[in-house]
Symmetry: C2
Subunit: 397 residues, 2 copies
């Protein structure tokens, strides 16, 4: 730390994103195909943006409800009822500045200095980082990679529990691994949480992107909603980002027992003070009229998965089972340095992947590729990428 | 706390806004004139909203720079150079989800459990509340009310410093009191901070709204920028909300020594993950083309101040010196219960004021009124409000 600027250790320790580091490395390369970030390449559809435009034209530019517009919270509840079989009262829902803010609020509710939160790993790095920012400890519980894909290791998860543990942060379907909890996995985690009086923070934002039909419930991934009791100690975080191509809008929600609604409203008040009304109008349009677009996105991700994994399967030495859910290939090159591979792919293939170590130490020999993209671009990317990876993996470890 | 839902004490202790409580009391009253919230009644002007609309139409709906668009940070630096005489490199500026998020980041940088932050009081409650949310203690240092208005009590401020103190959170011109630090006040606070190695968190969001010309520097309020050295330990928080009628947009910035830029970027990444590009485009339009509108807003607030204080001066027993800056009347009815008065004003005058106690214990016998509003509505409000307050203050204490 710069002694001229003494700051809190929790703030100083917040890590730089390992994804962004590689993006900086590749910035400005002409023709580079960017598959490193967790977003598709479709702009938000017009029926959504136009809802925001109309709201702006109508002068909806003032402060609004800290919990979110009642109309949006009704739309969220109705969406959850349609897809998850239960919506519940709008007191369960608070609108947030994206899924990240929902995670920050969830963590702020349940963890602080001296506390630990367990995260199945590899994991999206922002969860563990946000746990660190409140002064708590993120404890990684490794997933395991088998020929059929990434799997929960329940024993490792249970071993990670200590008297300091306050919560499990569970992302299913998972970024980056595509691991998708079965109903049995969910029950086992729920039972573990009950046994130790832990919260579950459930990040199911990729729930609609399910590729392994054997797991599916109405074509979506299993959810804690399928097995939880009403008002169980679960905080669900959600976002409009992925389903409706709204990454840049920064809108999501947190779902919690209604008894916590006022506390969550207070935490919104003292962090972001609400979400713009015109952004909320766009979210209402997305939730109420967006099913056709979501279906298109899911179909496109399936096609991308096929293109990418058909190509990756040709590379000897690469462990690349197709993921059960989400929209990433997360592949392992045993004994290799994922970051060096990612740099080589920028330099030699002009394709941008995220280094697997950005998602935890367990992924240091991995790479992540987002396949929610234009199929033609994916074909080109794979044609360039495969020979470079083949060459790299043919050399000595 | 609900034992079914054990949550962190810092989260559970986050207070409900005393302003919102009264708004709930008055919700749905037909014809009520709302002067309780800190925002004007003008919608964002079209040249600003149209910049957002164009951006949306152009498909700017993706993730963006965590620090904010370089174009916006250039516009901020140029604005600061024009109005405060120094802009500096864009590495000093990070775009945030409104001024509140900037305050949250500033507090997260400098305070945590075991730390204290001193706040001249009465104060906008969100600052002290955000200090509490990180587990630190907000220590109120009372301002004093004289016939010439609210004044800094430097001795009380100095007395409040302990070995736990990490920062002063200074809002000038102040919400709610209108207190506006002179250059001498600023130097004294800066010297106190230097002596004890404290940070200053400078909230100067009302700096353009100066009514006491004797204090003015180029028609704005004195700023720590006028007396600070380059890269002094000061974190400035700012917002587009007030000058450009953009309260509902949730965009502002934090200005900090460039050495902290990466840490601040990381804290943005793990709290909100950036600000929508289309909102940033609107902010660029505001900063670059908004001076005419700002001048109109300032003139309107001056007119509102005159209407309100001419009326308040007629009420015997009310201590109501016109404020030096900002756009609030914050008046004291010695010995009275500000919240009871505010409820009476809803019931009997159909006018909404904020109870003074919402801004700290020192304001329990006060009321706050926002006068950045339509002059005709203010005339009507005062005609209704004066007799009710006169009657209330004529009764026994």
């Amino acid at each position: 730390m710069d002694i001229a600027y003494p700051i809190r250790p929790e703030a100083a320790a917040a890590p730089e994103s390992g994804i962004v580091t590689l993006m900086e490395y590749g910035r400005g390369r002409e023709g580079l195909i960017p598959l490193w970030v967790g977003e598709g390449d479709l702009a938000t559809p017009a029926f959504i943006t136009e809802a925001a435009t109309r709201s702006l034209a109508a002068g909806e530019t003032f402060y609004t409800h800290q919990r979110g517009l009642p109309d949006l919270r009704e739309a969220i509840s109705a969406y959850m009822a349609r897809h998850y079989g239960r919506g519940g009262p709008i007191e369960r829902y608070t609108v947030t500045i994206g899924g990240m803010h929902a995670i920050q609020l969830a963590i702020r509710l349940v963890a602080g200095p001296g506390d630990a939160v367990i995260v199945p790993s590899p994991a999206w790095p922002n969860g563990p980082a946000a746990i660190g920012v409140v002064g708590a400890q993120a404890v990684e519980a490794p997933l395991c990679l088998s020929e059929s894909g990434w799997q929960l290791d329940l024993a490792r998860l249970a071993e990670a529990v200590t008297p300091h543990t306050r919560a499990l942060l569970v992302n299913t379907p998972a970024n980056p691994t595509g691991w998708t909890a079965s109903l049995d996995d969910l029950r086992a985690m729920r039972d573990l949480a009950r046994k130790h009086d832990l919260w579950i923070i459930a990040d199911e934002i990729y729930g609609r992107f399910l590729h392994d039909a054997s797991l599916g419930i109405d074509a979506r991934a299993p959810s804690f909603h399928d097995i939880a009791e009403d008002d169980e100690k679960i905080l669900y975080v959600q976002t409009l980002s992925k389903n409706w191509a709204m990454t840049g809008w920064r809108i999501g929600w947190i779902e919690a027992p209604a008894a916590l609604a006022q506390t969550i409203e207070n935490l919104v008040q003292y962090s972001t003070s609400g979400v713009p009304v015109f952004v909320q109008r766009a979210a209402i349009a997305a939730l109420n009229q967006g099913e056709g677009f979501v279906a298109h996105q899911i179909e496109r991700a399936r096609r991308g998965r096929r293109i990418v994994h058909d190509a990756l399967a040709r590379i000897p030495g690469l462990e690349a089972p197709p993921p059960a859910g989400a929209f990433y290939a997360y592949v392992r090159a045993p004994g290799r340095d994922g970051e060096a591979l990612a740099r080589a792919l920028v330099d030699e293939a002009n394709v941008g992947l995220a280094p697997g170590g950005a998602f935890g130490a367990a992924g240091a020999d991995c790479l992540r590729l987002c396949f929610a993209r234009n199929p033609a671009h994916l074909e080109t990317a794979m044609a360039r990428l495969v020979p470079v990876l083949e060459k790299a993996l043919a050399g000595p470890v």
